[in-house]
Amino acid sequence: MQTFSEIAEIQPLASRIITNSIQKSRVSHAYLLQGERGTGKEAIALLIAKRVFCEQPDGVEPCNHCTNCKRILSGNHPDVHIIEPDGQSIKKEQIEYLQKEFTYSGVESSQKVYIVKNADTLTVNAANRILKFLEEPSKQTTAIMLTDNSQSIIPTVRSRCQVIDLQPLSSDRFQEQLLHAGMSQAHARLMSALTNNVEEALHWNEGEWFAEARKVMIQLIEIVTSKPNDVFLFIHHNWLTHFSERNQQEQGLDLLLLAFKDILYYHLDYKDAMVVFEEQDEKLKQAALTFSPEKLLSILQAILEAKQKLKQNIHPTLVMEQLTLHIQR
């Protein structure tokens, strides 16, 4: 994504806010771009930086081929500072570097742009240090903070930035991208329900773990419908061994949620929306006979609650046992 018009296709609102402020030369001193992974935060941040430094801007668009634009893309522009987490979080030294940078004049121009990636990983101390400079920006400084998780930005930082919300990618467009990358139609649909990051989806699609996970999940539904007595054994032997990590457990529940949603859609005859099952699947018909729509609603509720419990650090075995009890009841 090299131009604002390209951004406008995915992020019409954000693109309009920013292009308008550029046109009226009212670029804010600090932006907070929040949106999920793959929504184009970095592309927008780099575009703003390029537009600020571009030698021959074409309206709101940077030219993308002057030395300034090229250097911003290659990370070599001396007045554009990009801070990304070093490991888990943004470290104190990185903020100290930034602080020093604030006190110096620019290298080539009096403009300065700094981009803080994953601003939610700033520790509270680090965030408070940055605060000083958000509060009293020196002339012609633009701060762009990027985050996936807007809730972890401390309110004092948030209140000093112009917040721009990026909307999640539409799943149709995302599916198109996945199909373009060579994924099958069925897989692309499932992936688009689980994530909106192309790389993550492709990574899952290639690995064995995800295929196995899908199999285990379908087996669970099968066992619940056909051999209810074996279900605890199955949970202990297959489910918990396969979904061992926290994020894997959450993903397992996501998959289960999608499957039960499909069964409900089958009842409602809303077959276009199904993502896990094919329309002609025997297992699906079997499951639809077993669960009434009312029952399905309460199961969906229970799965959401189970996810919540995992987040609250309740033991995963207990969570799964309780969930299966609820499904059986």
Partner: protein, 378 residues
């Protein structure tokens, strides 16, 4: 790009430029060294974004040809490898050639190196120098100005503007001021032969330290010009650029008291040595405090005291004491720094009471000024 250059010339230039290059930088291109070949010579550039050093090798100098077969162009080479290669090459001349794909070939005798270069367009563009907006200073004077002020800059980043030296050129007077809010050092020199003036630029203390290391005593004058973001110090072969500190330097002239209640004239060396001895028993975690007490008959007493360690008393003869009696405590470290900076044999110290800052000046009224805040003791 292509040129053949005398190896010793290249080594000297590379060494100068390397002083600005650091291995850890935020911008990847700055780990490299820019080499620019032009009709009139070679220009090498190194930078860590705070300071940049450019070194120029002319085509010929006093009839001796340094560079031959120049084809214009520029390239950025890895500073980790290039200097070592140049140093260890076998012959007296070095041939450097870069092709359109940024491949660089370095030849000397039968040795041949192929290095991957980087695009010179990626390198930061240093501000163009404007010679009409510049003024000249003898190098030894500039070094002196730096030496007499730069020690007083703040080392703490809490007030970043104080980590620099404030330069001012107004009414044909050039002044250097540095303070860390506990002490202040300043010096003024007359500048008659210039019509340039600027009200206040703040140059980082670190940059000035580097500058005084790199300036060669054998050359005579340095040309200084100030742009919006950078200050340029220019000698015959060397351009030294430093970024400036952003912000307003505090108004320091009002801090300097214009009246005094007690004036002491004293030999610099004697006072320096006495305070140095007294500071032996002044503890570092308590600001190295020593105490000065005026006695009658042109004698002052210097004491250092740490209850856990011991006590030192020494009397010094002074040339004259005028005004009220005085007991004052101050940091021996600041006092030593200040006395060392004044390179005259006799100093005049103006006190305005035990709780007010005092000023140390050379006895002959040369405009060097050192101001120190006293320490409150009981």
């Amino acid at each position: 790009m292509k040129f053949i250059v005398q190896r010793d010339k290249l080594i000297a230039s590379v060494q100068d430029v390397m002083k600005a290059i650091s291995a850890r930088t935020a911008i990847p291109i700055l780990t490299g060294m820019k080499i620019e070949a032009k009709k009139n010579g070679l220009l090498l550039t190194g930078s860590n974004s705070d300071i940049s050093i450019e070194s120029h090798i002319p085509v010929e100098e006093e009839g001796i040809v340094h560079i031959e077969q120049i084809e214009e162009g520029s390239i950025v080479l890895q500073a980790r490898y290039f200097p070592e290669i140049v140093r260890k090459l076998p012959e007296k001349t070095v041939e450097v050639e870069a092709d359109a794909n940024l491949n660089v070939t370095i030849r000397s005798g039968k040795a041949e190196f192929n290095l991957n270069g980087q695009d010179a367009d990626e390198y930061p563009q240093l501000p163009k120098l404007q010679t009409d907006e510049s003024f000249e200073l003898p190098i030894d004077l500039l070094k002196n100005l730096i030496k007499q002020t730069v020690f007083a800059v703040s080392t703490m980043e809490t007030r970043p503007i104080l980590t620099g030296v404030n330069l001012k050129l107004e009414d044909n007077k050039l002044s250097f001021t540095a303070t860390d809010s506990h002490r202040l050092a300043s010096r003024e020199i007359p500048m008659d032969s210039t019509n340039v003036s600027f009200s206040s630029v703040v140059v980082p203390g670190k940059s000035l330290n580097e500058l005084s290391k790199i300036l060669d005593d054998s050359e005579e004058t340095v040309e200084i010009s100030v742009t919006n973001n950078q200050i340029l110090f220019r000698t015959k072969h060397l351009n030294f650029l430093s970024r400036l500190l952003d912000g307003n330097y505090p108004e320091t002239s009002r801090l300097i008291p214009d009246q005094s209640k007690t004036v002491i004239h004293i030999k610099t060396k004697e006072l320096l040595n006495t305070i140095d001895r007294a500071s032996l028993l002044a503890k570092e975690d308590r600001n190295n405090v020593v105490k000065l007490t005026t006695k009658s008959n042109q004698i002052v007493e210097i004491t250092g005291n740490s209850p856990e360690v011991g006590r030192v008393v020494e009397e010094v003869n002074v040339d004259s004491i005028q005004g009220e009696e005085l007991k004052i405590s101050f940091s021996s470290k600041y006092m030593l720094d200040a006395l060392k900076a004044i390179e005259y044999d006799e100093v005049k110290i103006d006190f305005t009471g035990a709780m007010r800052p005092f000023i140390i000046r050379p006895a002959n009224n040369d405009p060097i000024l050192q101001l120190i805040l006293p320490v409150r003791t009981y």
